[in-house]
Amino acid sequence: MLELRDVNSFYGKAHILQDLSFSVGRGEVVALLGRNGAGKSTTMKSIIQIVRPRTGSVTLAGRELVGQPSYRVARAGIGYVPEDRRIFTALTVLENLEVGRQPRRDGAPVWTVDALFELFPNLYERRNRLGKAMSGGEQQMLTIARTLMGNPSLLLLDEPSEGIAPVIVEQMAHAILRLKAQGLTVMISEQNLHFARVVADRAIIIESGAKKFDGSFEELAAKPEIRDAYLAV
């Protein structure tokens, strides 16, 4: 449903994504792997159009996204969860969810505040707390829940396990598997190979903004040289 073709993105003069191409099928959970600075976050941002690719195309169900404002991309059904969480610290949990609320979409799971509280019970207890009064793990749950309020058909998760206690990472993995069971398509960027293997069907490895591997985790396990060259294990 998502397809990137020869995407080139820049920060000023720095050429970050170099002819990056891959696709994500409906209902798939794909892990985008690579070292720090490999271009994982830029790939995500180039999909949601916070970073505008200079050339190439990004399509969702055949619809071109390059050049669209971010809010249109979001309304087309892409939910973006940024790496640094970016929750609204001066807003309560409920208000944060309200910002993310969008009308329901055909062919995508429908979310309500109650359903999200069931998925992340911690948030229910904290529902009237300000965003800044929450722990890192709770903020991470909130940012995912906030994005789900937009009823996306494709979820982009940028390093959800980063800097979070192992117990919470486990909860997160369960949540992602539940989302998958509901038929949501997920693309997740990770440095944590173990976590990626638990939740994802397929791995894409990038290095210096170019694709180095695209295949199942079994294939990846059969090629330790790739893992050693491009992943910090």
Partner: protein, 623 residues
């Protein structure tokens, strides 16, 4: 007792309009991060539109519905005007540096001023009385206008309504979210363009309502826009940017203070509110209910700065050639041309000093005229009261202005960004009101006269040479500072304060010194000015003067010292011709807006880019 309560009630009634206008400014700033200098213009527009509607509607709808309907409708019309300004002027420049946005809103002020002049004429207009509220209530024997009581009663409801809008509605949630992180709000599917337009329209409507509501107590005139900027910024700074209850408390505080000031200290009404502001800021740097600003973390990003380099050999030769021509000019030109050239050199020095603090220091000072006029007054006061000879009195211009900058800088440097800009503006208004109202010393708007240079410098030609030498030395001094380690430290602090501090640079201290330096050089220009004209008036300290310099620096190009100089020359030459036209403000305003949108690098920057493209300028030799 009765008198005391009467004063209090008058102050509370006056607070209504001020609060409405201030809350609009606060709201707009919170979401768009733009300090809308044209906000006072929407207040003025509200007053004029209100008068017109109050003349028409009561005939159609009857006196009561006509009057109150006119007020409601005024806000809606002014809100629409605000939306138009947002769409046309601000939308293209949300990602531009702060200064560009501020200058663009200043362009809007000029345009609205002339449009108001065209439509409503230059005469001040009296506001109509509110129907059924013409008389007074007797409270403790003191007469209180009925309309005042009505205003006092409705203001809390306006506060409540605004608070509910912000705290309880989806719009309010989105507004608060966008205040923190616009990019993320967009990534969540919110069309922030319309959110911005809506907020700007609402903020403008509030200003319009403020203008219309005060009509029965006052009226409409063409100075309303500038006159409210001082109190408006004071209220916003005292209350805390972005805080509605803060704006309310501060509006009440300032209005009540003003009324008592008029009653007990009539000589110091203007100064009083700035003194209160200064006290509040010492205790709470971000205002009573404000929070520390961490602006620019997400969402706003300007283009990376290209490092500036000193002129190469070719550039230096050109400057030397130009100076030679200027030195030889008295041999061939008329005295009038020399007077104009003297003005240009003075203006160029003033603009260069502002460019230094603004471009190199990254500190957007909106009150630079305080130091220019302050320097002029320092020298003039010495001549007037101590009969100091010109040579010594002249030195007091940079000295006095530098000391003034040390005092003002002590308050301002602690803050940054828009707080800094508003604070410098408020302080310059303080200096202006001090000079304007302290007639015993400064002679108020009669000005200080008979301030002439010594015999050896009197006459157009000697003074022209004097100005040329002092002006060029001043500019060269600034250039040396910019390219010295101190200048590097200043730029480091501008580009990344945290990183600079991690490298051991005391950023605030460097900025403080630079601010004082810029003030001293502005004072030097002021000193040149006062002896050139033989007199000085409070106009040299006005907001308009600060804006002149800002516009000049902006037109020339913010990034290079030469920008200020080229801009000043361009402006001085064009102004002479432009001000002869009837609606020159309109033209200038449109020109400014066009430059902001189309050629944001200014004259020097655009010329340089053109030169690069045509191969006339090499990268290494530029600047």
């Amino acid at each position: 007792m009765g008198f005391f309560i009467a004063q209090l009630l008058t102050g509370l009634a006056n607070a209504a309009a001020l609060f409405l206008v201030a809350s609009g400014l606060s709201l707009i700033f919170g979401v768009t991060r733009i300090v809308n200098f044209a906000h006072g213009s929407f207040y003025m527009l509200g007053a004029y539109v209100g008068i017109t509607l109050m003349g028409v509607l009561p005939g159609v709808l009857g006196p009561y519905l006509g009057f109150w309907g006119a007020i409601v409708l005024t806000g809606l019309i002014v809100g629409l005007a605000g939306a138009l300004v947002e769409i046309v002027v601000l939308r293209p420049i949300y990602r531009a540096p702060e200064l560009f946005q501020l200058v663009a809103t200043f362009g809007v002020i000029l345009v609205i001023q002339d449009l108001a002049l065209m439509v409503w004429g230059a005469e001040d207009q009296m506001g109509p009385r509110a129907p059924g509220l013409r008389g007074v209530f007797r409270i403790f024997g003191e007469p209180i206008p009925k309309y005042d009581i009505v205003l006092i009663c409705i203001t809390p409801f306006i506060l409540l309504a605004l608070w509910a809008l912000i705290a309880k509605t989806r719009l309010g949630v989105l507004v608060r979210a966008a205040t923190q992180d616009r990019e993320m709000v967009a990534a969540l599917g919110v069309n922030q363009r319309w959110l911005f337009t809506g907020v700007f329209a609402l903020g403008s409507a509030l200003a319009g309502w403020g203008g219309a509501l005060q009509l029965p107590k006052g009226g409409a005139d063409l100075l309303m826009d500038f006159n409210i900027i001082g109190p408006l910024f004071v209220v916003t700074v005292i209350g805390g940017m972005g805080s509605l209850p803060g704006a309310f408390i501060a509006a009440v505080l300032i209005s009540v203070l003003n009324v008592f000031g008029v009653a007990y200290l009539p000589q110091s009404t203007l100064v009083l509110m700035f003194v209160v502001m200064a006290i509040v800021l010492i205790v709470r740097p971000y205002g009573l209910l404000g929070k520390e600003e961490v602006a620019g973390e997400h969402g706003q990003s300007g283009a990376p700065e290209t490092p500036i380099r000193p002129f190469g050999r070719r550039g230096r030769l050109a400057v030397a050639g130009l100076l030679l021509v200027m030195a030889l000019l008295p041999l061939v030109t008329q005295p009038f041309a020399l007077v104009l050239l003297t003005d240009i050199v003075i203006f160029a020095l003033f603009a260069a000093s502002l460019q230094f603090i603004l471009g190199t220091g990254g500190l957007v000072s909106f009150g630079h005229a305080a130091f220019y006029g302050g320097g002029a007054y320092a020298a003039a006061l010495m001549v007037t009261y101590a009969k100091t000879p010109m040579e010594i009195a002249f030195l007091f211009a940079p000295l006095g202005a530098g000391m003034l900058a040390l005092v003002i800088g002590w308050f301002c440097i602690r803050l940054s960004g828009v707080y800094f800009a508003m604070l410098t503006l408020a302080f310059s208004q303080l200096v202006w009101s001090l000079v304007f109202q302290w007639r015993a010393v400064t002679r108020g708007d009669d000005g200080l006269i008979d301030i002439w240079p010594s015999a050896w410098l009197s006459g157009t030609v000697p003074y022209y040479y004097f100005t040329l030498v002092v002006g060029v030395l001043g500019i060269l001094f600034l250039r040396t500072v910019i390219h010295a380690p101190f200048g590097y430290a200043l730029r480091a602090g501008r580009d990344s304060a945290r990183q600079a501090e991690a490298m051991g640079i005391d950023v605030k201290r460097v900025q403080y010194v630079a601010f004082a330096l810029a003030g001293a050089l502005a004072g030097l220009a002021g000193g040149l000015f006062v002896f050139a004209k033989g007199s000085v008036f409070p106009t040299e300290l006005e907001i308009g003067k600060s804006f002149d310099a800002l516009i000049v620096v902006f037109l020339g190009g913010v990034k290079t010292l030469s920008g200020g100089i080229v801009g000043a020359t361009f402006m001085a030459a064009v102004e002479d011709w432009l001000t002869r036209l009837h609606y020159w403000r309109l033209l200038l305003g449109l020109l400014i807006i066009a430059v902001v949108i189309l050629a944001p690098e200014g004259i020097v920057g655009s010329a340089r880019r053109l030169g690069l493209r045509l191969g006339l300028v090499k990268h290494t030799e530029a600047d």
